[in-house]
């Protein structure tokens, strides 16, 4: 049998098995490259206006802080919703303090979390659909290291959610429909539907078969397109 006929046979048969994965790769690949990654990350869901520190708001000194919390680490003085706050960690976890009075703000309550979410959300008047406290078993879109968090779901066609740490008041994660689709696309792209790890055996088998199938396809391209004129009669005869 000729190169042409063999290639045609093997391309046809191999693609019966891996052809669908080619569609999956190209659909998921196209989705991932067309949507801007910053948009996928939800960067456009929030305003990034940190607010300037004002000395008149800082009446609780770092010396006092260390007296109350001698093992404090990673101390940071920053702005939260227009108020100066301290963030720090110690062996008991992360904490948030009012920098004016020194009163402990963490863990923040629901109202406070909603306030932060509204303050940061790109459209401040958007209605909130649901607020929930997550202390364990985080959803797939949230890393467990951020727990505990308040999840604030906004109205809107892309179902945006902001996750706010109850201990620091920081927005630790932002998610929306397109991130969730992207995540699915990625797992289908690497053929690992649980761990999303590209070094799996299934992917290996499919890539190798796909490479072989594509090489036969390349031979067909050569015959069809580049030897088209000289071989036209022959190909017509053989394909009958």
């Amino acid at each position: 049998m000729s190169w042409y006929r063999n290639s045609r046979k093997y391309h046809k048969w191999l693609m019966l098995f891996v052809g669908f994965q080619f569609v999956v790769w190209s659909v998921s690949g196209a989705f991932m490259v067309i949507f801007d990654l910053d948009y996928i990350h939800g960067d456009s869901l929030i305003v990034n206006e940190p607010g300037v520190l004002n000395k008149s708001q800082i009446n609780y000194s770092i010396a006092k802080l260390y007296r109350h919390y001698p093992n404090a680490k990673n101390v940071e003085l920053t702005n939260l919703q227009g108020n100066a706050v301290y963030r720090f960690s110690n062996d008991k976890g992360k904490h948030l303090l009012n920098a004016d009075t020194g009163s402990l703000l963490s863990p923040i309550n629901e109202n406070y979390a909603v306030g932060i979410a509204k303050y940061s959300y790109i459209q401040p008047d958007t209605a909130i659909k649901q607020v929930s406290l997550i202390t364990e078993n985080p959803p797939f879109e949230l890393s467990a290291r951020h727990l505990p968090v308040w999840r604030v779901d906004f109205e809107g066609f892309s179902n945006p959610s902001l996750y706010i740490s109850t201990l620091t008041g920081e927005i630790v994660t932002k998610r929306h429909l397109f991130w969730r689709i992207f995540d699915w696309m990625f797992s289908f792209h690497v053929m690992d539907y649980v761990e999303e790890d590209a070094s799996n055996k299934l992917l290996f088998v499919f890539i190798v078969l796909s490479l072989v199938a594509s090489l036969f396809g390349l031979i067909l391209t050569y015959f069809y397109v580049f030897k088209r004129n000289s071989n036209k009669k022959k190909i017509v005869k053989e394909s009958v």
Binding site: G19, V33, I62
Partner: protein, 243 residues
């Protein structure tokens, strides 16, 4: 069906090379050692820190008012107590990027004395050494502006400290904050080359949202769908026969 077949044939000419690049680099990602590809072979995992003498610390509110007096045009968004080479500093943020690798603006102030500190070559080298566990000696040290080949997403000016080890490790230090941007070495550079190919990121912008990949992804999508329809057509016509 004739159109589908015609499209499939001609699209194959257009996407062939890139399709093999995608499959080849995909195979590489499948088989590569992902730990090595991170470039952290010589990265110290736990940085030892000296205890800060709290009694010697200046008050952040004092630092703030001093800074506002000296440089009133620069707003201060936050003051963070950090440690660089056993010395506490207040890290003042003047422009906050959404992420650390986005554009940020910082000042460093000695937390004991209140002196302004600029990260010079010697300090960058000392910082780099403190994160480096390899046996190489320090080579060329340069202050470079983005784009940075080893970290194309980084938007801040960095110090690049090269080491003459077998992997040609480079350590990157954020020039305004002293943050360790990361380590890179020849293992990472080798893997990055395949990422560049897979993402068609020929301008090495560290992104897969470029026009050439969008164009090729759409062509490839059409190529795969026409091929799939062709396969279905063959199935329906009973052309898959086991003899």
């Amino acid at each position: 069906m004739k159109l589908v077949k015609c499209l499939h044939k001609w699209l194959s000419v257009l996407v062939a090379i890139q399709l093999f690049i995608w499959l080849g680099s995909g195979l590489f990602f499948n088989l590569m050692d992902s730990t090595k590809a991170k470039g952290n072979e010589n990265l110290v995992s736990n940085l030892a820190v000296k205890k800060i003498d709290h009694k010697r610390l200046l008050e952040p509110s004092y630092i703030l008012s001093q800074f506002n007096k000296e440089q009133p045009q620069k707003p201060v968004n936050s003051i963070k107590l950090i440690q660089l080479i056993d010395q506490p500093y207040y890290l003042l943020n003047h422009y906050l990027g959404l992420y650390q690798h986005f554009y940020n603006e910082h000042s460093l102030v000695n937390a004991y004395t209140g002196e302004m500190k600029t990260i010079d070559k010697i300090m960058a080298q000392t910082l780099a050494i403190s994160t480096y566990s390899g046996r190489g000696n320090i080579g060329v040290t340069e202050r470079i502006s983005p784009p940075i080949d080893d970290f194309p997403k980084e938007k801040n000016i960095v110090w690049r400290v090269n080491f003459d080890d077998e992997l040609y490790t480079s350590v990157y230090i954020d020039a305004s904050s002293g943050r360790v941007v990361g380590h890179s070495n020849d293992d990472k550079r080798f893997a990055d080359f395949f990422f560049m190919l897979h993402f068609m990121d020929y301008g090495t912008l560290g992104s897969f949202n470029n026009w050439q990949i969008i164009l090729f992804s759409i062509l490839t999508l059409m190529f795969c769908i026409t091929g799939f329809v062709w396969t279905l057509d063959l199935l329906i016509k009973g052309r898959y026969k086991i003899r």
